[in-house]
């Protein structure tokens, strides 16, 4: 059973800028990622927006392995600030999961 945390998006947004709602799932970011990350950013951002907290927590390695190189961000047709969003997710995970 999938549990939904209706407050997840608000909690993440409290940690910093997070504008993932504009993502239209076009896949440009996935195609350009030098690490070949397939679930970041599209799937994880969607999980945050939908409140699927367990799925977000299961992808800590993906969030922290992102290079923040901004190849995806500067090419995003929806102008989603992808790298900034990833950093905001790190802030959130450091607070809630790592207790830092």
């Amino acid at each position: 059973m999938t549990r939904v945390n209706a407050e997840l998006l608000k909690t993440v947004e409290a940690s910093g800028e997070f504008n993932a709602v504009a993502c239209m799932n076009c896949g440009t970011c996935t195609a350009l990622c030098p690490l070949g990350l397939t679930n970041l950013p599209r799937e994880i951002f969607r999980d945050v927006v939908l409140g699927l907290e367990e799925k977000v927590l299961a992808n800590v390695e993906t969030v922290f392995s992102c290079l923040l190189c901004r190849m995806c961000q500067v090419n995003c047709p929806a102008e989603v600030k992808i790298a900034d969003n990833v950093r905001t997710l790190r802030v959130h995970l450091n607070k809630t999961l790592h207790h830092l």
Binding site: S15, G16, P34, L35, V60, E61, F64, S65, L67, L68, C69, R70, M71, Q73, V74, R87, T88, L89, R90, V91, H92, L93, N94, L97, H98, L100
Partner: protein
């Protein structure tokens, strides 16, 4: 066995909070590069190293150790390591930077300062008063630690009357130009990379440079700070600058940012980037960032490609 990044991030956060840097080094080590240059102490315009070049040999040593530990039961002890690190600076005991590497990184900083002087640029240096910007803790999302440290850095600039800085690496430049103004109230500082300063001055290397190099653009310089034309302008009358397919704003990452937490992933990305650069047919690659330098140098060895800092090409 999964790598316990929680404890590793915790150690870096503790080091930043308790000792002012993710990789605390003595002031002698941090300022060794300036020996013999007679740089004026302080001034309204200073060269600001941000400690990145000085830290690289120690970070490389730490990463090598972590790489060996990554899939072993030793990782279970990292929680204890973090606990003891709060009282004793473990990085002092656990990192064994190579003296040769330290001398090489120091020489790169020296060459940057010498090139600026040749271009007629006047600047001072804060020596032991200079602080690290906190770039790594910012990237890792340790915002509370970062914001407090950024306030200290701004107080340092104010105390010494600094109004303008010449930076030497993209990470420090991004912190001071893009991030600090958002998190430090009243922060106001002119921030220029030495590449921008040299290009604006019209300076070109005085000696004939004939060796062809392929330029690897830094992601931050090229995509965030729009610094990619400047190094090419400095080299305009020098060696052939043979740009790779992925150049300027389309540059491919060196993998370095993953090095501290996921060294194996960093190696994979670096190997791919070196293959792209090697495909241009040049034996020498010039880089603009100490992290790119460290990461691509390792990958380059396997392909017989020499990776040099930009300062070594022009100085």
């Amino acid at each position: 066995m999964a790598f316990p990044i929680r404890h590793l991030i915790g150690i870096l956060a503790d080091n930043q909070r308790l000792r002012g840097s993710v990789m605390p080094l003595g002031t002698g080590r941090l300022t060794a590069w300036a020996k013999g240059l007679s740089l004026p102490r302080g001034g309204s315009r200073v060269i600001y190293t941000g400690h990145m070049y000085q830290m690289m040999p120690s970070l490389a040593s730490m990463e090598a150790g972590l790489g060996l530990m990554a899939d072993t039961p030793v990782t279970r002890l990292m929680g204890w390591g973090r606990f003891f690190n709060r009282f004793v600076n473990l990085s002092f005991f656990l990192t064994w930077p190579s003296g040769r590497q330290q001398a090489q990184y120091d020489l790169r900083l020296k060459k940057i300062a010498q090139s600026l002087r040749q271009a007629g640029i006047q600047f001072g240096y804060l020596y032991e008063k200079e602080l690290y910007t906190g770039a790594l803790v910012y990237d890792l999302g340790l915002d509370e630690v970062f914001k407090k440290h950024a306030q200290r850095v701004w107080a340092m600039f104010q105390k010494h009357g600094v109004r303008s800085v010449i930076t030497v690496d993209p990470h420090t430049t991004e912190m001071l130009r893009e991030v600090y103004p958002k998190v430090v109230p009243g922060f106001q500082l002119e921030v220029k990379s030495y590449l921008e300063v040299l290009a604006e001055s019209g300076w070109t290397p005085p000696q004939a440079l004939t060796e062809a190099v392929t330029l690897h653009d830094s992601c931050i310089y090229a995509r965030t700070l729009q610094v990619s034309a400047q190094p090419r302008a400095v080299l305009a009358k020098g060696p052939l600058v043979d740009s790779p397919d992925h150049a300027g704003a389309a540059t491919h990452c060196c993998g370095g940012p993953a090095e501290s937490l996921y060294p194996h992933k960093a190696e994979t990305v670096a190997a791919e980037r070196i293959n792209q650069l090697a495909a241009r047919g040049c034996d020498t690659v010039a880089v603009l960032c100490p992290i790119c330098l460290h990461n691509l140098e390792k990958a380059g060895r396997a392909r017989g490609i020499r990776v040099k800092d930009f300062s070594e090409i022009i100085g």
